[in-house]
């Protein structure tokens, strides 16, 4: 990662972020093109094959990604001091994102009610520094309200886990 220019150590520079995203877009375009060629981009007896339209889309994606990359490279020097995100500001983002990923994995395992309790509770306790009483009130209250709204009122089933099975739902 570039540490030259105005970026502090470990900060992510915008020009690198631009390049990575442009590469991902172009790469995505390549995947689309390859798969379109696989299913056929030409005409069959009954009309255009399945890859006919996506092929154009893939090409445009590759072109767009390429243009963005070239534009970034042309402005490379000018973008030297521009920071995408500083390490300091990235921390709260990751503190949000990582627990959320954990939460989603928990949903698959424990069902949405227990997972939400753990997630909201942990978030309030560690990030909000709330007392156990307040944390408990919100973290337990929310799943109960959700259960009432979704399962009882609107009859929309949400993912349930071992705990709900124990309670007989």
């Amino acid at each position: 990662m570039a540490t030259s220019g105005g970026n502090a150590r470990g900060d992510i520079a915008t020009r690198w972020a631009e390049l990575v995203v442009a590469a991902l877009i172009a790469g995505g375009g390549l995947v689309v093109v390859i798969d379109s060629v696989r299913v056929g981009i030409t005409w069959a007896d009954d009309g255009p094959r399945a890859g006919y339209f996506p092929f154009f889309i893939g090409c445009l994606l590759m072109i767009a990604g390429g243009v963005i990359a070239v534009e970034t490279l042309l402005k490379w020097k000018k973008l030297a001091g521009v920071t995408f995100v500083t390490t300091e500001r990235l921390k709260p983002v990751l503190l949000m994102l990582l627990p959320t990923i954990g939460y989603v994995i928990l949903i698959a395992w424990l069902g949405i009610y227990v997972a939400s309790l753990v997630y909201v509770g942990a978030f309030m306790r560690w990030q909000g520094k709330y007392s156990w009483v307040k944390t408990f009130a919100v973290a337990v209250g929310l799943p109960i309200v959700l259960f009432a709204i979704f399962e009882l009122w609107f009859l929309v089933p949400l993912p349930k886990g071992p705990v709900e099975r124990l309670l007989g739902f």
Partner: protein
């Protein structure tokens, strides 16, 4: 007047106690969504959509569209009191709204904002009432080339009128089209880009994309900015409301311009956000107080709010008549119509008269109800914003996760929501627009079908897009809009040159 008669019938449909109740719930939920960061009109409606599957379609669409009106109103509250735009289209409202609040004129600013929102929406609804049946009747004659042309116009106008770099708009749009192509190809029955995964068979649902991009993405951005809500008190009393209302008529010219900009940007899908900025910029340039804009001018609140609401409302016109939504929220409403088995488009006006006119009537009623509700309940909403983010953020994520799950009762969608959330965060930071991605994801299959049918008709020749004056002029207009950024760059370059060169 046939339309007026239809509209009256629509009022009869909308004015049942049950529908009025749904309207009220919708507005309240909408304002709540508009006030909270990370929940906006588009993803709010997307999350609540599954709850309406069991309701009758007319009641459901009335409630969902009222959520939309509520969200449009709610965005203004946070902009003025907290200098935090609850919605992208209320960014321009902060420029003069927040300074007014700092000067202790918050009530005046909010009254002006709500009233001009109402005026903007009202004119847009009147326009829909009289224009929509005409457009629908006209569109009955459309064939595949015409439909593709209109869709092309939709997408090209994003490139031509967007505030983001054109290449990034194209990249984001094509990504949407590519994601839309994933899954079973309905024409040939072949699998595309599933790479042997069964989870990808169904393709990507745009509702998931909306919830991830606008919901989780927004939460991540808010975490980065480390928001602490420190706002002004939000008391409104009737005396100030009346005083402000007395002032408003003198700014009629600003309002008229804002309405025109808004309606235009709503129908051609520029959307509410660019409309609000354009209107603010225009008002600043034309007003004699232009130099004082940004210091708390009431005109600086009227202009963007009127335009945003006019655009947000008129975005429903192409959605209803052509099946082409003018904004992400209109796209979500369109998704709802499809789920209820109603195919938006010209035939809807013939086959489902009750539904269409009930919806249009509810737009009138919903906006009146919305104005009254927000004027009376502002202090509560301001209080909600004082709940710390450490509670609000995880609760919103939980709601987003439930919303994503309930679309298809599928855990894979919840994982995808996270992926879209990260994409949304990155794209927002690098100034890729999100609306084209969502619209392309919604319209992808329809656009592809229209294109393939056109190609079948012409045996693969592009000439079909210029085969009659109607389709030809739409396609040409679309292409002009597509290259508009290049043209305008050239014009500026020419003007920048010394005049002597220009003469020779």
């Amino acid at each position: 007047m046939e339309d007026v008669g239809n509209l009256m019938q629509g009022f009869a449909v909308a004015l049942t106690w049950k529908n009025l109740l749904f309207m009220l719930i919708g507005i309240l939920l909408g304002v709540l969504i508009g006030v909270l960061p990370g929940l906006g009109g588009a993803n709010g409606v997307a999350i609540l959509l599954p709850l309406t599957f069991t309701m009758p379609p007319t009641s459901a669409i009335i409630m969902l569209s009222c959520i939309y009106w509520g969200a449009l109103f709610g965005g203004a509250i946070t902009s003025i009191l907290f200098n935090i735009p609850g919605e992208p289209w209320s960014v321009a409202t902060t420029f003069d709204g927040y300074p007014m609040a700092q000067q202790g004129r918050a009530a005046e600013a909010m009254t002006a904002a709500f009233t001009s929102s109402f005026v903007g929406a009202l004119f847009a609804v009147v326009m829909i009432t009289f224009l929509a049946p005409l457009v629908a009747k006209f569109a009955l004659r459309f064939g595949p080339p015409e439909f593709f042309a209109v869709q092309l116009l939709t997408f090209c106008s994003f490139v031509g009128m967007g505030r983001e770099p054109p290449v990034k708009t194209i990249a984001s749009m094509m990504l949407g089209f590519a994601l839309a192509a994933v899954g079973l190809d309905t024409v040939t029955g072949q699998l595309r880009m599933t790479f042997g995964s069964t989870a990808l068979l169904q393709g990507f649902d745009f509702l998931i994309a909306v919830i991830g991009l606008f919901g989780l993405g927004e939460i991540l951005l808010t975490m980065e900015e480390g928001l602490a809500f420190k706002g002004k008190g939000g008391k409104i009393n009737p005396r100030i409301v009346l005083q402000t209302w007395k002032q408003l008529p003198q700014y009629w010219a600003t309002s008229v311009r804002a309405i025109l900009i808004g309606c235009w940007m709503g129908i051609t899908p520029g959307g509410a956000t660019p409309a609000s900025f354009m209107s603010y910029g225009m008002a600043k340039r034309i007003s004699k107080n232009g130099s004082k804009f940004g210091e708390g001018q009431i005109e600086g609140v009227i202009a963007p709010e009127t335009a945003a609401h006019a655009a947000g409302t008129s975005a429903l016109l192409p959605m209803l008549t052509l099946g082409i939504p003018g904004s992400p929220t209109a796209a979500v409403l369109l998704g709802g119509l499809l789920i209820w088995g109603l195919q938006p488009g010209p035939l809807l006006f013939v086959e489902k008269k009750d539904f269409v006119w009930g919806l249009i009537a509810s737009m009138y009623l919903g906006n009146i109800a919305g104005l009254l509700i927000v004027l009376t309940t502002v202090p509560w909403w301001a209080a909600i914003l004082r709940i710390p983010f450490a509670i609000i953020a995880p609760v919103i994520v939980v709601i987003c996760a439930i919303g994503a799950y309930t679309v298809h009762n599928n855990m894979f969608d919840v994982y995808m929501m996270i992926v879209f959330g990260v994409i949304g965060y990155g794209f927002k930071k690098l100034k890729y627009p999100l609306a084209p991605l969502v619209l392309a994801l919604v319209l992808g299959d329809m656009a592809e079908t229209a294109f393939r049918q056109s190609m079948l008709l012409s045996k693969g020749r592009m000439g079909i897009f210029w085969s009659n004056p109607l389709v030809g002029s739409i396609v040409t207009l679309a292409l002009v809009l597509l290259v508009w950024p290049l043209i305008s760059r050239m014009i500026t370059a020419l003007r920048a040159k010394p005049p002597a060169v220009a003469v020779s």
